[in-house]
C-alpha cells in the first residue's frame, strides 16, 4: 500500500470525506467562534430561560449566560482534551507496546502484566480518584490524567502489530546488513505502522473526549472555564429538563456525540482503505 494507492482510495471513500468536512467545520467553529459572540461564557448576558432566538442562537440558561458562547468555548476545551489526552495516550501506548513487542522476553511479560492490570480497572474510577485530590484542575491537567490512564488499550494493539511486523523477513534482512536496532525500528518497522497508529489516535481522541465529559459531569471538570461536560452537569444540577429547558441539555450532548461519532466513522473509512476485505462488503 504505497502513497499513490493510499491517496486514490482515501479521496474516494465517502466515510472519510464526510468525516473530514464535519471535523474541519467544528474545528473552525471552535477557533473562530469566540469572535462571533460578544459575550464571555461565564458572565451574565441577558434574561435567563430564553429558548434559541435571533439574539441568542442557542438560548440562555438559568444564570442568563449565553449558551452559544458556552458551547463554542466548551467545544474548544473538549477538542483540546481530545487532542492532548488522546495524543498522550497514543504516544505512551506506542512506546510501551512497541518496546514490549520488539524486545520480547521478560521485558514483554512485565509490561503486558502492567497493561492488563490497568486495562481491568475502569478508567473513570481511576480518574475520579486522581481528580478528586487535585487542588486545581485545568484542561491541560485533565488531558494529562486522561492520557495517563487511557494508554493500555493502545499498548496492547501496538504490541500485536509490532510482533507481526518484527517477524517479517525484511527486518531480518536489515539485521544482516549490520543496521543498528534503533535504525531498524524507525526506518523499517515504524513506517509500516503509521497507518495503524493514525487510526489508533483517532479512537483515542474520541475516547479522551468521552472520558473528559464523564469527569466534568461527575463534578471533577476544570475548576475554571467551561466545557461541554460542565454545561451538562449544571443543566442536571439545576433541573433543566424539569423546567423544560431542553436547549440547555440537547446542544452540548449532541455536539459531543457528533464529534465522537464522526471520528469512529472516519476510523471505519480508514479501515476500509487499509484492508481491502472490508471494502468489498
Amino acid at each position: 500500500m504505497n502513497l499513490k494507492e493510499f491517496v486514490y482510495f482515501f479521496l474516494r471513500n465517502k466515510k472519510i470525506i464526510t468525516a473530514l468536512c464535519i471535523l474541519g467545520l467544528l474545528a473552525l467553529v471552535s477557533i473562530f467562534g469566540p469572535f462571533l459572540t460578544s459575550y464571555d461564557p461565564l458572565e451574565f448576558a441577558s434574561a435567563p430561560y430564553q429558548p434559541p432566538n435571533r439574539q441568542h442562537w442557542l438560548g440562555t440558561n438559568t444564570f442568563g449566560q449565553d449558551l452559544f458562547t458556552q458551547t463554542v468555548y466548551g467545544l474548544r476545551s473538549s477538542l483540546l482534551v481530545g487532542l492532548f489526552g488522546g495524543g498522550l495516550a497514543t504516544i505512551i501506548g506506542l512506546i510501551i507496546g512497541f518496546l514490549a513487542g520488539y524486545r520480547g522476553g521478560w521485558f514483554d511479560e512485565i509490561l503486558m502484566m502492567l497493561t492488563n492490570i490497568l486495562m481491568v480497572i475502569p478508567t473513570l474510577a481511576l480518574l475520579i480518584i486522581i481528580a478528586a485530590y487535585l487542588p486545581y484542575r485545568g484542561v491541560l491537567i485533565q488531558s494529562v490524567i486522561i492520557g495517563l490512564t487511557a494508554w493500555p488499550w493502545t499498548a496492547r494493539a501496538v504490541r500485536a502489530q509490532t510482533l507481526s511486523l518484527k517477524t517479517r523477513e525484511f527486518v531480518d534482512l536489515a539485521r544482516i546488513t549490520a543496521t543498528r536496532s534503533s535504525k531498524i525500528i524507525f526506518q523499517e518497522i515504524m513506517p509500516n505502522m503509521m497507518s495503524y497508529v493514525f487510526m489508533v489516535f483517532i479512537l483515542q481522541f474520541g475516547g479522551a473526549i468521552l472520558a473528559a465529559t464523564g469527569l466534568d459531569f461527575i463534578g471533577l471538570g476544570p475548576t475554571r472555564g467551561i466545557s461541554l461536560g460542565i454545561m451538562l452537569q449544571q443543566a442536571t444540577l439545576w433541573n433543566a429538563i424539569q423546567l423544560g429547558m431542553w436547549w440547555w441539555v440537547v446542544t452540548p450532548g449532541a455536539l459531543i456525540t457528533l464529534v465522537v461519532a464522526t471520528l469512529y466513522i472516519m476510523n471505519t473509512g480508514l479501515d476500509e482503505v487499509f484492508n481491502p476485505r472490508l471494502r468489498e462488503m
Binding site: M113, N116, I117, M119, V120, I121, P122, T123, L124, A125, L126, I128, I129, I130, A132, Y133, L134, P135, W153, G206, L210, T213, G214, F217, I218, G219, L220, G229, L232, A235, T236, I241, Q242, G244, W246, V249, V250, G253, I256, T257, V259, V260, A261, L263, Y264, I265, T268, R277, L278, M281
Partner: protein
C-alpha cells in the same frame, strides 16, 4: 513443527485447566492489590494537602479549623510513618472498616455503600446482558445486506459515541417531562420503604425502566458494531467457504459464523465492563438513582474522601469478579483454549 496433542481426554487436560484458572485468579488478586495501593497512595502523595483543602471549605474560625485539622490528621493517620499507615490500611480493610463518611456523618462508609450496591447491580447487570444479546443479534442481522449495513452503521456509531448520561437525559426529558409516562428521579417514590411486596417492586420497576433503557441503548451500539465486523470476517473464513462449496444453506453457514463471532465478543465483554460501570455511575446521577454512582457524586461534592475511596474499592472488586466470571464463561464455550495445551494463556 507440528505439536499434535496426546490423544483422548485425560487428567493432563484437567491439570491444565486448574493451572489456567489459578493463573487468572493470581492476576486478579494482583490487580486488586495494585488498585488498592493506588487508592491508598494518591491522597498521600498528591501535591497539596487534602486536609487543608477540606478545611478551607468549612471556612470556620481559626481555632475550630485547628481542631478539625487534628481530627482529620488523626482520622487519616497521616501523622504516623508511611509503612505503618499502609499496614493499618490493610488491617482496617480486612476488618471491613473503610472509615466514617463525612457526607452521611456518622454512618460508616461500608454501610452506606452496601445500602446502595444492590441498586447499581440491579441496573448494571440486566443492562449488560440485554444489550449484549440484542446488540449481537442486530450486528449479525445487519451484516446480511449492503443496504442494511449502510443504514444501520451510522445509527450504531451514534449510539456508541453518545455519552451515556446524555441519552439518559434525553429519555428523561422525552418520557418524563414531555410525555409524563415514567418518573425520572429516584428508585422508588418517597412514601415507600424498600420491601419485597409487589407494590414496592412494581413501583421500583416503574422507576427503573428509563435508566435501564438508556444504558441498554448506548451499550447496544458497541456490541452491534463489534459483531458486524466479526461476522463479516467469519463469513469469509475458509470453513464457511468450504461448507458453502458443499452445498450448505446460508442459514447454516451464518449459524456457524455467528457461533465463532460471539467468542471474541465475550472477551470484549470483559474489556467493556470498565466503560459500562462508568456509564452506569453517570446515568444514576441523571436519575438521582441511589446507586454507587449517586453516592460517589455526593462524596465528591462534599469532599468525603473515605466514601470516594470506598466506592472505588467496591467498583474494582465488582469489575474483577465480573472479569473472572467472563473468563470461566469463555473457557466453557470456546474449545480452542481447552483443547490446545500450548494455547496462549
Amino acid at each position: 513443527m507440528n505439536f499434535s496433542r496426546p490423544k483422548g481426554r485425560d487428567c493432563s487436560e484437567v491439570i491444565f485447566l486448574r493451572k489456567y484458572l489459578l493463573k487468572k485468579i493470581l492476576i486478579y488478586v494482583l490487580t486488586f492489590f495494585f488498585a488498592a495501593t493506588i487508592n491508598w497512595a494518591i491522597p498521600r502523595f498528591m501535591p497539596g494537602n487534602p486536609i487543608h483543602f477540606l478545611i478551607a471549605r468549612f471556612a470556620t474560625l481559626p481555632e475550630s479549623a485547628k481542631v478539625l485539622q487534628s481530627y482529620f490528621t488523626q482520622a487519616f493517620g497521616l501523622d504516623r510513618p508511611l509503612m505503618e499507615q499502609y499496614v493499618n490500611f490493610w488491617r482496617a480493610f480486612f476488618k471491613g472498616d473503610l472509615g466514617i463518611s463525612i457526607y452521611l456523618y456518622p454512618q460508616p462508609v461500608l454501610k452506606v455503600i452496601l445500602r446502595s450496591l444492590p441498586y447499581t447491580v440491579l441496573l448494571l447487570l440486566p443492562a449488560i446482558i440485554v444489550s449484549f444479546v440484542i446488540g449481537n443479534r442486530f450486528g449479525a442481522f445487519v451484516a446480511r445486506k449492503k443496504y442494511l449495513d449502510n443504514i444501520a452503521l451510522p445509527i450504531f456509531y451514534t449510539l456508541t459515541a453518545a455519552p451515556y448520561f446524555w441519552f439518559g437525559i434525553l429519555l428523561a426529558w422525552l418520557f418524563g417531562v414531555v410525555l409524563k409516562v415514567f418518573p425520572i428521579a429516584g428508585a422508588y417514590s418517597f412514601a415507600m420503604t424498600p420491601s419485597f411486596s409487589w407494590r414496592f417492586v412494581s413501583n421500583y420497576l416503574y422507576h427503573w425502566i428509563l435508566p435501564f433503557s438508556s444504558l441498554v441503548l448506548v451499550m447496544l451500539g458497541g456490541w452491534a458494531i463489534g459483531m458486524r465486523n466479526m461476522i463479516i470476517y467469519e463469513l469469509e473464513a475458509n470453513y464457511s467457504r468450504y461448507m458453502e462449496a458443499l452445498g450448505s444453506s446460508q442459514s447454516l453457514i451464518r449459524r456457524y459464523a455467528y457461533r465463532n463471532a460471539i467468542l471474541p465478543q465475550v472477551t470484549g465483554l470483559a474489556i467493556q465492563l470498565g466503560t459500562a460501570v462508568a456509564g452506569t455511575l453517570t446515568t444514576e446521577i441523571v436519575f438521582s438513582y441511589p446507586g454507587i454512582g449517586y453516592i460517589l457524586m455526593q462524596g465528591i461534592l462534599n469532599q468525603d474522601y473515605f466514601l470516594i475511596q470506598g466506592c472505588f474499592l467496591f467498583i474494582i472488586v465488582g469489575v474483577l469478579i465480573a472479569n473472572f466470571i467472563v473468563d470461566i464463561l469463555y473457557l466453557i464455550i470456546d474449545p480452542r483454549i481447552r483443547k490446545s495445551y500450548t494455547g496462549e494463556i
